[in-house]
């Protein structure tokens, strides 16, 4: 017995286990994934450190001078070296506004997806685990929800809110409203995916074993089945964050999103759009580029994760 103990090596640390994992191996050999993660982390840092990085505070009216409006980027003719990426129509430094806008876009994206996931996971687990009538009922709800496009629901809800409670209140609550609307409109994506995984997991013997032990259904669902369905959740989450950011940008572009005083990437693009024919292309094009890059790297990361976590592609 003692010999056996000696042969067993010490348990590897969490870091060591990560280094040995398939995930790490795949990441190390995949240039696209590395680049995407690098860009994403850069965006995340930019958003997080916006108050430190930005030379101006775009929310502070005292720092804005209307005389500086529509200055081109500093490398263009007529540019001012103080404003690296130029200024928008109200004289705000574009670089600072983009930093703060990325922050808003990411916050809305992440929070909306967290809401979607919370709703979708609970509903999907309930539907899949209990089956029968509960399943039919919840999934019909999902079908109804899916038959309205997210955009349509969002536009109707936000427009009605704006009309009923006035623009002022709306501008104060814009971020919360966007999170709620985008979060609630897209839960069926999660619910359906999770329900499908739960149906597969439910038949496995460990679930019977958990029932034999005498555990409550809630415990079996959340502690035993949910962790086994984590990889599809992870994959759709990356894609959904990107989708939520696009939704927010689209709504802002339509004037139903973040107010001009607190611009997200979408409202920035929208505000610049009016000036694009007067030659001030940078107000639209630069935030647009940032938005495209952000969504692109998230989708690429999602694709990579899907390939890595797909048990059909990887047997190990």
């Amino acid at each position: 017995m003692t010999e056996q103990v000696d042969i067993l090596e010490a348990r590897p640390s969490a870091w060591q286990r990560l280094r040995d994992s398939h995930l790490w191996h795949s990441f190390v050999t995949d240039r696209v994934a590395q680049l995407s993660l690098l860009v994403f982390v850069a965006f995340a840092l930019m958003a997080l450190l916006a108050p430190l990085l930005a030379p101006f505070n775009p929310y502070d009216p005292a720092q804005i001078d209307i005389l500086n409006s529509e200055l081109p980027p500093s490398w263009e003719e007529g540019g001012d070296p103080a404003f690296w990426l130029g200024t928008d129509a109200q004289g705000r430094d574009l670089w600072s506004t983009i930093l703060y806008g990325t922050r808003i876009s990411l916050t809305i994206g992440l929070c909306a997806v967290a809401l979607q996931a919370a709703l979708g996971i609970v509903i999907g687990l309930l539907a899949g685990y209990f089956g029968g009538r509960i399943d039919s009922l919840l999934m019909r709800f999902a079908d109804v929800q899916l038959s309205f496009s997210t955009m349509m629901v969002a536009i109707v809800v936000l427009a009605v809110f704006q009309a009923t409670f006035g623009t002022e209140l709306y501008q104060r609550l814009a971020m919360l409203m966007l999170i709620l609307v985008i979060g609630i409109a897209e839960w069926p994506q999660y619910a359906r995916t999770i329900r499908a995984s739960v149906l597969a997991e439910k038949r496995k013997e460990y679930v019977d074993a958990a029932r034999v032990i005498g555990l409550r259904p809630a415990r079996i669902m959340f502690r035993h089945i949910l962790p086994n369905t984590l990889s599809p959740i992870l994959v759709i989450s990356t894609v959904q964050v990107a989708n939520a950011i696009i939704s927010e940008a689209s709504l802002s572009f339509l004037g139903l999103g973040m107010p001009v005083s607190q611009p997200s990437l979408g409202s920035l693009i929208s505000s610049g759009f009016e000036y694009i024919f007067s030659g001030a292309w940078w107000i639209t094009v630069i935030p647009g580029g940032v938005l495209i890059a952000l969504v692109l790297v998230m989708n690429l990361l999602g694709d990579w994760l899907r390939d890595v976590l797909n048990p059909k592609l990887y047997k190990g």
Partner: protein
């Protein structure tokens, strides 16, 4: 009062093609510390019986009649909450495949502590202490290390030991073992069986062993039941059933053992296969495969006949017993 008493249990499955009976007329008792073997081919209803004892059948299966008395309380009519307090606590179950019964994403320790804390109000440390002690009982080397490992890091035999340790966690009165060694290596099988036997004896736990391995049944159990197409066809002391099988089906099972074949010859087998539940023939369910089939077997369900310490459901045995009794009477008259 018997520890477990099953009376006239009937289990049905409501399928789209109609209702079918998966178990009928199941009667048996189990005393504290007793070991009972349930034998039969695949599809005889052995596992369904194991599940229904814990009232764990999931749709479309349900208990249609009869009672399952555990210490006099009917498990078939209990609320979900009461059942949870018995499952894993007083009666536990060990499944066939240890690869499948352990949750792949939780460590051994998490799964054990969870079971303990579901039934008793104890601290994490106490739960860990009990879990480690149980791991030692099933001879897991360096249990502290295993405690933090995931199921995939362990071998099949080790995993089944852990499943047994989880089954023993709450010091249950009954363990239902559903083919506990089928998924294991032959060499490991013997080890695991010995371990289960030892633990049951030491802790005075009653064991219901569901298996198709007659060898294991004869080594481990005192009482045995042979099932065919959802019914018990022969039950009694294991020794009598093994040494002097009465029912033609049990005889066929015994003859099918590799030890019974003449070297160099084909193994004996029972012709045909078990009928599906929807197509159980009238009369004795075994009649299409029986070598000794009589006219009455095709139309009438056989009653149980006592033969030694056993009960056998077979027209032939009944007839032979009648003839024997008649002969005896003639002899006595002379």
């Amino acid at each position: 009062m018997a520890l477990l008493e099953v009376n006239n249990l009937e289990v049905r499955f409501g399928l789209r093609s109609g209702e079918v009976s998966a178990l009928r007329d199941i009667n048996f008792t189990l005393e504290r510390g007793e070991r009972l073997g349930i034998v039969g081919e695949s599809g005889a209803g052995k596992s369904v019986l194991g599940f229904s004892i814990l009232n764990l059948l999931s749709r479309p299966g349900y208990i249609a009649g009869g009672e399952i008395l555990f210490e006099g309380r009917n498990l078939a009519a209990m609320s979900a909450r009461e059942l949870r307090s018995i499952r894993g606590n007083r009666i536990s179950m060990i499944f066939q495949d240890p690869m499948m019964t352990l949750n792949p994403v939780l460590t051994i320790g998490q799964q054990m502590v969870e079971c303990l804390r579901a039934h008793r109000k104890i601290s994490q440390q106490d739960a860990k202490r009990i879990a480690l002690q149980k791991l030692k009982q099933v001879y897991i080397p360096s249990p502290e290390k295993r405690f933090d490992q995931y199921p995939h890091e362990l071998s099949g035999g080790m995993r089944q030991r852990i499943v047994i340790a989880i089954g023993l966690l709450m010091d249950p009165d009954i363990i239902i073992a559903d083919e506990p060694t089928t998924a294991l290596d032959v060499t490991i099988q013997a080890e695991i069986m010995d371990l289960m036997l030892e633990l049951c004896e030491r802790n005075n736990v009653a064991l219901i062993l569901i298996t198709h391995d007659l060898g294991v049944v004869s080594q481990v159990t005192k009482q045995a039941m042979v099932m065919y197409a959802g019914r018990i066809i022969e039950q009694g002391p294991t020794r009598e059933i093994i040494n002097d099988a009465q029912h033609p089906y049990t005889q066929g099972l015994m003859n099918a053992l590799p030890q019974m074949a003449i070297p160099g010859q084909r193994l004996n087998q029972i012709r045909g296969s078990m009928p599906p539940l929807q197509k159980i023939p009238a009369g004795c369910a075994f009649n299409p495969r029986c070598e000794y089939v009589m006219e009455v077997c095709r139309s009438q369900l056989p009653e149980f006949t006592s033969s030694g310490g056993c009960r056998v459901a077979c027209h032939l045995v009944a007839k032979m017993k009648l003839e024997e009794a008649a002969a005896q009477r003639v002899e006595e008259a002379n």
